[in-house]
């Protein structure tokens, strides 16, 4: 049976979208909030992510222990994540538990933010920062983002810093919450075996007291500048390199060409970077990806290798990016298209995958695209599209950050 798309906008502005598939064995629900580190100010850096944690700490009706217990009672696969631009909350459940999953999320999205929970969870956030500090790629990535975006708010660290988190006050978080978690700044995405009308009625009733805030996002364009930095640390073994350059935004029609280009140049297998760096054993990782943001975008490239090969690997990386347009062949475009189409189809076989795709699409574009339309758009990409993309986004200026062992020369 074919899937059916449904959409309703509630009076207070909350969009509810769904792909209904009566043959599915499971159901998924997600709330996507247009709130992330780029919506913060420097003094509350990390508040979006910390708030995401606090969303599990309870409401007037539920304690933190109740929340964890109730999700487990329905066997939900549930979690949340925070990026620079989106915070999302989801649950993947058996169809008979959809009502309880919706009851939980619509309640939890109006949290109490109790002081003792806030103070306890602060420790957990500090441990999470510590955990990522033990991951060299992450350290290089955060530094690269900070340098590339400069004074633009996309430079903020999603986790915040030890200092910003330690200083954060509960009232600052509440102020941020009240502004950003308004119904007109989020989308509810449903998929799988669901009764759409029933879900809409339940969400409408549960959120009837929610007030729109007409909050907006600052869309000042970032200034991309060339950069070059090296961090040395005694406690790393390998050499890491992360670089950024401008790319199309998530809304830009050339995002499909950007995805294909990224696969041609920098997929983990069979790409130009693979044959130049991984196949000969020069680097153990070397990839290029397209990251579309809200009305701006980047390509990110990275590699890790033996410290002694750092310079060689980096120069080959630049050579591949410099020569991207010169050597484009129809065959490599065709292979990249096949791989992307396969990824999209596999992700879509599961309701949870569709719920994620729909929610993101609606939040950024305010539109629905059936999988088949997206596949057609990917399959239509040609060498000429990639050339046009490279004329608009020539993979420079590049900002590069290296993290390398302290004793390397």
């Amino acid at each position: 049976m074919a899937v059916e798309f449904k959409h309703v906008t509630l009076d207070h502005g909350l969009d509810i979208i769904a792909e209904v598939n009566p043959d599915a064995h499971t159901s998924a629900v997600g709330f996507f909030v247009k709130a992330g580190s780029r919506d913060e100010t420097g003094d509350v850096m990390g508040v979006s992510h910390f708030l995401e944690h606090m969303m599990f700490k309870g409401t007037e009706r539920r304690t933190a222990a109740d929340v964890n217990r109730e999700f487990d009672e329905i066997g939900a696969n549930y979690n949340a994540s925070t990026s620079q631009e989106v915070t999302n909350y989801y649950a993947h459940v058996l169809p008979e538990y959809m009502e309880r999953a919706i009851d939980l999320w619509t309640d939890l999205l109006r949290p109490t933010l109790r002081d003792d929970d806030f103070n306890m969870e602060k420790n957990v956030i500090l441990e999470e920062i510590g955990m990522y500090a033990d991951r060299p790629f992450w350290v290089a990535y955060e530094d690269a983002m900070e340098r590339y975006f400069g004074s633009h708010p996309l430079n903020y660290r999603v986790l915040g810093t030890n200092e910003s988190i330690a200083a954060l006050k509960r009232d600052q978080m509440m102020a941020y919450f009240e502004q950003r978690y308004s119904p007109d700044n989020m989308v509810a995405s449903l998929s799988g075996n669901i009764d759409f009308d029933k879900c809409v009625a339940q969400i409408a009733e549960a959120t009837k007291a929610w007030k729109p805030s007409r909050v907006t996002r600052d869309y000042t364009a970032p200034k991309a500048e060339a950069g070059d930095a090296t961090i040395t640390r005694d406690n790393v073994k390998m050499h890491y390199m992360v670089g950024l350059c401008p790319g199309p935004s998530t809304q830009d029609d050339s995002r499909y060409a950007a995805a294909v280009l990224a696969h041609v140049l920098g997929d983990s297998e069979g790409s130009r970077l693979y044959w130049k760096l991984i196949d000969p054993g020069l680097a153990d990782e070397a990839e290029l990806s397209h990251y579309g943001f809200d009305k701006t975008g980047t390509f990110m490239f990275y590699a890790s290798c033996d410290a002694a090969k750092g310079e060689q690997v980096e120069s080959i990386m630049h050579e591949v990016l410099d020569n991207a347009a010169d050597e484009l062949e129809a065959g490599e475009v065709e292979r990249a298209v096949s791989k992307i189409a396969m990824d999209m189809m596999l992700r879509s076989e599961k309701p949870a995958g569709r719920m994620m795709a729909l929610g993101g699409q609606w939040l950024y574009m305010g539109e629905y695209q059936p999988l088949e339309t997206e596949l057609q758009r990917v399959r239509a990409i040609t060498v000429d599209d990639l050339r046009a993309l490279l004329a608009a986004y020539p993979l420079k200026p590049r900002s590069v950050v290296r993290l390398t062992p302290g004793d390397a020369t």
């Binding site: 499971t26 487990d72 510590g130 076989e349």
Partner: protein
Amino acid sequence: MTDIHTHTYDNGLTLLIEPMAGVGSLAMSLLLPAGAMYEPADRLGVGEVLGEMIFRGAGELDAKAHCDALDRLGLHRSSEITSTHLRLGATMLGDQLDEAMPLLLDMIRRPMLADDTFGPSRTLAVQAIESLDDEPQRRVMIELKRRHLGEPRGRSVMGEIEHLEAMTADDVRDYYAKRFVPRGAILGIAGKVDVDHAIERIGELLGDWSGDAPTAIVEQPGPRGYEHRDQDTQQVHIGLAYDALPEPHADSMTQRLGIAVLSGGMSGRLFTQVREERGLCYSVYATYAAARDHGTVYAYAGTTAQRAAETLEVMSDVLTKLGDGVEADEFERAVVGLKARLVMQGESTAARASAIAGDQFAVDAPRTLEQRAADVEAVTLDKLNDFVAAHRLTDPTTLTIGPTALTSPAS
């Protein structure tokens, strides 16, 4: 009700096929009896290098041509080494079977294993080991397994740098010839598939394959106890290992439910008592690894140095106190959680292909999702409570990585 078709070819290869409704994809998982525990004791890592080299040219096609042919189909593929097997996995569309299988099975039957692909493959294997220094969270579990299980089961599947440095391309070819054999090999297929056609097609591709490989091993127990590895890290990474039941044991599902009480969801005891109530860490979990002839419960937490001693104490206390008994509501949540995971597994062709192949090895038969759900339902609260009382999790093997050693709870 799902049907899983089993076909055993004359050469000993077992083929398992689970057709799935409502999916367009097809996944395969091929287990070859070439796991790290069969590697020559002075050539540890040879399987890892072989797993890399089979992607570098097969049949008539050199590395680039072979990779391009797989990419034209958009095929997902991967290889991994475990203690017992080298696994080749792939996901494709159901109607690509005829085109994809010859390319994939050439990697097993006719890999080039050319001299010039050995050097880079070995270099990558060495780099992977070196980069573990930068991944303490992963390294702690690798070293813990080594210390707990001993030789050869506890070996790091990544191998040893000195052995890799002494290795030649002939060592790899020799290992390939001895271990890539059909007897003991298991091919699991799940998804959109025509069963008779698949049996026939795979028979054409693999029917003339022959060979047998010994699977007897000589075991040396691990030193166990407590070990600390000094490293300048932000967090102290703590790993614990306990003996548990092997998969074929009648009570293995009971053991699994017990571990789900500890770590099945966010209301699990470990998450609640270590993270929620004390804020000691971000990541804490326990997991049950059940194999054909042994089982292990592993637990992990990462925390900053000043909280590490308390974290270790709370963790081991929570694990041991499982033996005091489980409440009815905890039991219910564990049951619901395991059953929901089974339904979700049923939405993934790759997960099903891997599960049925793993079942065939562990318990000599594939198990349907319905059978697994019945296994969960067969466990009662009384049975679980009797079990946890009789199988207390005590005396763990403990490994820590970080700036300071801890006092072991066992000492």
